[in-house]
């Protein structure tokens, strides 16, 4: 057997090894990227709000509204959520600002007495029970505790719903690591439970699951 032949063969075997390892390494990185970043990005379908609304304008110094001025309760303590357009019409019976969105809102909804089909970011699954009254009035929580930063938003971001489960990203969580990616996320079971644990409330499943 020729010695140089053997050496050459060994050398080429060495470069093959390196190439194989490199491909393997980048393959792993690529798959992780795909699975952890690309896939979660595409699994959620964005749904834009029908009308834009600026919380910062309404809650800011100019107008000076409080959260409860619009988001209130009925006599049984049930949270009424987003107010109907009749409430808006109190000020916006005709266009009072300069924005195109407002004009669209007045023309298409107020003048036609139509309700807006808001896309709800955090509508919980059917089996979840949540009481705003209990948390706010008995628990003495501020709105900002859970909806931190919402009053400062100038625009309504598109809601993102999972293409598989249909649940909003705000409910199912956006990352695999337990870190909420935007301030207003954190409406998953673990978020509720974490807060309750922190405050020393021990409860059973039926307290929140109906």
């Amino acid at each position: 057997m020729n010695t140089t032949d053997a050496i050459n063969r060994n050398a080429s075997k060495g470069t093959d090894d390196v190439r194989g390892k490199t491909i393997f390494f980048f393959g792993i990185v690529g798959m992780l990227f795909l699975g952890w970043i690309i896939f979660p990005f595409f699994i959620y379908a964005p749904v834009a709000q029908p009308v834009q609304f600026s919380h910062s304008t309404h809650a800011g110094d100019n107008v000076g509204l409080k959260c409860v001025d619009c988001h209130s309760y009925d006599k049984d303590g049930r949270f009424l959520g987003i107010p109907g357009t009749s409430k808006c019409a109190g000020c916006h019976s005709h266009t009072i600002g300069v924005s195109d969105e407002e004009k669209k809102f007045v023309d298409e909804y107020i003048l036609r007495h139509k309700e807006i089909r808001w896309v709800v970011y955090s509508s919980q699954p059917e089996n979840v029970y949540f009481s705003h009254a209990t948390h706010v009035k008995v628990g003495k929580l501020d709105c900002e505790t859970c909806h931190f930063g919402h009053e400062f938003t100038d625009k309504l971001r598109p809601a993102r719903f999972s293409r598989i489960s249909g649940y909003s990203i705000d409910v199912s969580g956006s990352t695999l690591l337990d870190i909420p990616s935007t301030p207003s996320t954190g409406m998953r079971m673990d978020d509720c439970a974490g807060c309750h644990n922190k405050r020393g409330h021990k409860e059973s499943c039926i307290d929140c699951h109906k």
Partner: protein, 264 residues
């Protein structure tokens, strides 16, 4: 999770809800069964459902004194989940913690979304008070609009049971919270079956509250519980002035056989 010492109810004080059913007043009309089904979004069974496969979270049994006419007397026992207090047979058997006793109210809660449908709890319950969803829930066209929004629907393949209309407690708590109260008032929360009973045979309330009617009745002479000997501490009490009725609760089932009762 169910360690009583650590409990701090979300809305103040600890309860132990229970019920007393005066079987002398029960006419066996079944209103409680209907009210329960309507309140809790129990779907109407399909045509091939039987009394053994349908869902009746509250079920009325008939018993008699075994005598021939004219001495024959009968009695009705509305039996729902007995909300056992001490080691409920269904809680410890559930492999995935879908059943637990709510320490703040003493109510045995079952979470259908956690349920795998293994039905071990059904086999464990001596009262046969647990029901399995053998079919997909289907309502006649249009009837689904009458569903109660406070109760979630159960899918096919899970077990469900009575939870003393826990959603009514939630609603009462919410109302109290809106009014700035920590605590619900007596009578603000009663389950649908109690509400519907036309002869007022059922009394519901907090067994820890010594001033309550339910406490008085539960402690009274004629009160008894079914299968108390098993030591599970059921929280549904029955009441009867008649001794033979009170004896039925603990009677050996085999004694009925000796009388020649049917075994089908």
């Amino acid at each position: 999770m169910t360690n009583g010492n650590q409990v701090k109810s979300l809305t103040g004080k600890k309860h132990n809800f229970g019920m007393v059913i005066d079987v002398d007043r029960c006419t066996g009309c079944g209103a409680c069964m209907i009210a329960c089904a309507v309140e809790n979004n129990v779907p109407p069974g399909p045509v091939d459902a039987t009394d053994r496969t349908g869902i009746t979270l509250m079920r009325v049994y008939k018993a008699d004194n075994g005598m021939d006419f004219p001495d024959n007397e009968s009695v009705f026992f509305p039996v729902s989940c007995q909300q056992c207090e001490h080691h409920p047979p269904c809680v410890s058997v559930c492999p995935q913690n879908a059943v637990e006793v709510d320490p703040a109210t003493g109510i045995v809660g079952q979470i259908p979304v956690r349920c795998l449908g293994c039905r071990y709890c059904m086999a464990a319950c001596p009262y046969h008070a647990r029901y399995f969803n053998w079919w997909d829930p289907v309502w006649p066209e249009g009837m689904e609009r009458s569903l109660n929004p406070d109760v979630s629907l159960r899918m096919r393949g899970v077990v469900e049971k009575c939870n003393f209309c826990f959603h009514r407690l939630q609603a009462a708590r919410e109302k109290a919270a809106a009014e700035g109260r920590d605590e619900i008032k007596e009578g603000e929360y009663i389950p649908a079956c109690v509400e519907s009973c036309p002869t007022s045979a059922m009394t519901f309330g907090d067994l820890l509250d010594e001033g309550s009617e339910v406490y008085r009745l539960a402690q009274s002479n004629g009160s008894f519980r079914i299968l108390e000997r098993l030591g599970t501490g059921p929280k549904i009490y029955y009441f009867s002035e008649r001794e033979w009725v009170r004896n039925i609760a603990e009677k050996d089932p085999a004694s009925a056989l000796k009388r020649g009762a049917t075994t089908d």
